[in-house]
């Protein structure tokens, strides 16, 4: 399924259900993500994409089913859950950079406090990561002083600083001004090329075409269709997918 051969599953989602009150937001979801794979989750709003993404590092609890990460079921709480989360990067729609910390501190907080890496070493690596995402010159500023695109790239650097086994992206470009979308997507495409395992909830079809190994189409809490980007965009098999694509691709 992936180019780099090692096809052991990193994430296995099995028969997962979740309700928000009367709303059945995840219906019997089954999904496997192999190492090095880039899975793009698309679909109409309210279809359960974000909930599925957030369930993988248990920011959202599930009502039934199992989620196995790296061979182990997700721990319910406590230190074990914190340890799991430190291995799963997360990039949010609204960036969620720590507002009272500088850009560099945002990137080094996890490594120093969770991994116990000495400050000097964490700073050095933090600067390298900021350079990689192109904002090393802003290291001493605070999040509110940066543009949305710069903040989101910082958030990606913050996730990378933990050396995660995978990164979850929950609509990473949806809150950005249009001219800033590409700079964030470029960073993500770079990560995908480097072999990072990624689950990306997005409306960016261009990104899905360029970087995804697989597209998962979700609607009304179900995975309706799973396919390679080429197949999915050129010949969707289900009516719901056809309908969705016709709405977003016509203009």
């Amino acid at each position: 399924m992936t180019e780099n051969g090692d096809a052991t599953p990193l994430v296995r989602v099995e028969n997962v259900n979740k309700n928000f009150g009367a709303l059945h937001v995840l219906k019997d979801i089954n999904l496997t993500v192999t190492r090095g794979e880039v899975v793009v989750v698309i679909g109409p709003s309210g279809g359960g994409k974000s909930t599925l993404c957030r369930a993988i590092n248990r920011l959202e609890t599930i009502d039934s089913g199992t989620i196995v990460f790296d061979g182990k079921p997700l721990p319910a709480e406590g230190k074990a859950l914190a340890r799991l989360r430190s291995d799963v990067g997360m990039v949010f729609q609204s960036f969620n950079l720590f507002a009272h910390k500088t850009i560099l501190e945002n990137v080094t907080l996890g490594p120093t406090k969770v991994r116990g890496i000495p400050r000097e070493q964490a700073d050095k690596r933090g600067m390298e990561l900021l350079e990689r995402v192109g904002i090393d010159s802003q290291a001493e500023k605070y999040p509110a002083q940066l543009s949305g695109g710069q903040q989101q790239r910082t958030a990606i650097a913050r996730a990378l600083a933990m050396d995660p086994k995978m990164i979850l992206f929950d609509e990473p470009t949806s809150a950005l001004d249009p001219e800033m979308v590409q700079e964030v997507l470029d960073v993500m495409i770079g990560l995908a090329r480097d072999g990072m395992t990624m689950v990306v909830v997005t409306h960016e079809m261009g990104f899905a075409r360029r970087a995804a190994n697989r597209v998962v189409f979700m609607s009304e809490g179900q995975i309706v269709e799973e396919n390679t980007p080429d197949e999915f965009f050129t010949s969707p098999r289900t009516d719901r997918a056809k309908d969705f694509l016709s709405k977003i691709l016509t203009h």
């Binding site: 914190a82 989360r85 969620n96 720590f98």
Partner: protein, 227 residues
């Protein structure tokens, strides 16, 4: 009649008055510090994922916040210290000082806790989510991400609590420790209840509280977290 306009007692007793206000300052600072620590622990309990801790925190705050401070201080000085002989120092004034400090801080901590809890509501949920997502534990995300931002958003209300605490120290008069208001009462007894003495002490409290208010207002602006 001229005693109503006689400021001379204030001059004659100036040393005693200063000693009284120094006691007020000592009570305020020590109680404020302890209330801040206890209030922070209480708010951590009130938002913790453990139901028992949450219930204990809620119980404490609701009891202390709704009990008159006079009763709290009487319980400390008369109940715990005099009746139950729980002395904190063999030196009597020191003993009453510490009991007064404990009473004041136990009471004020409930207000600090609630101010902080209000402050935590100004911190977007995404901040705690991001903290958890990088693998910080509950206490770490509270200590490193949520509380620092909560504190900064409630600096002005914390200033108001400190001002209230400064003035609440006057109630310590029931707990057997001599501070400024006790000196004032003694002077009323000695010289008669005159306007100059009253004015002198009112000004004395304002000298303490007005700068506190200005300082906290300035600090709130300076440390505000921009989003």
């Amino acid at each position: 009649m001229e005693s109503l306009f006689d400021f001379s007692p204030l001059v004659q007793e100036f040393g005693t008055i200063l000693t009284g206000f120094w006691s007020t300052i000592r009570l305020t600072l020590m109680s404020g510090l302890l209330a801040l620590i206890l209030g922070t622990i209480l708010v951590a309990m009130r938002v913790s994922p453990t139901p028992v801790l949450r219930a204990a925190g809620t119980f404490y705050v609701n009891i202390l916040r709704n009990t008159p401070l006079t009763l709290v201080l009487l319980l400390c000085a008369l109940g715990l210290s005099d009746t139950l002989q729980l002395t904190l120092s063999s030196d009597s004034p020191t003993n009453y000082y510490w009991w007064a400090v404990l009473g004041l801080s136990a009471y004020t901590a409930s207000f600090v806790c609630e101010a902080l809890r209000a402050g935590m509501n100004t911190v977007p949920a995404g901040q705690a989510e991001a903290a958890r997502a990088i693998g910080l534990t509950f206490l770490q995300s509270l200590r490193l991400v949520v509380l620092p931002q909560a504190f900064r958003s409630v600096i002005a209300p914390l200033g108001s609590i400190l001002i209230a605490l400064t003035k609440n120290t006057t109630i310590v008069i029931v707990a057997g420790y001599i501070e400024a208001s006790a000196v004032m009462k003694q002077m009323f007894d000695d010289y008669g209840g005159t306007l100059p003495i009253f004015l002198g002490f009112a000004v004395g409290y304002m000298v303490l509280t007005l700068p506190t208010g200005f300082f906290f207002g300035w600090l709130a602006k300076r440390l505000a977290v921009s989003r």
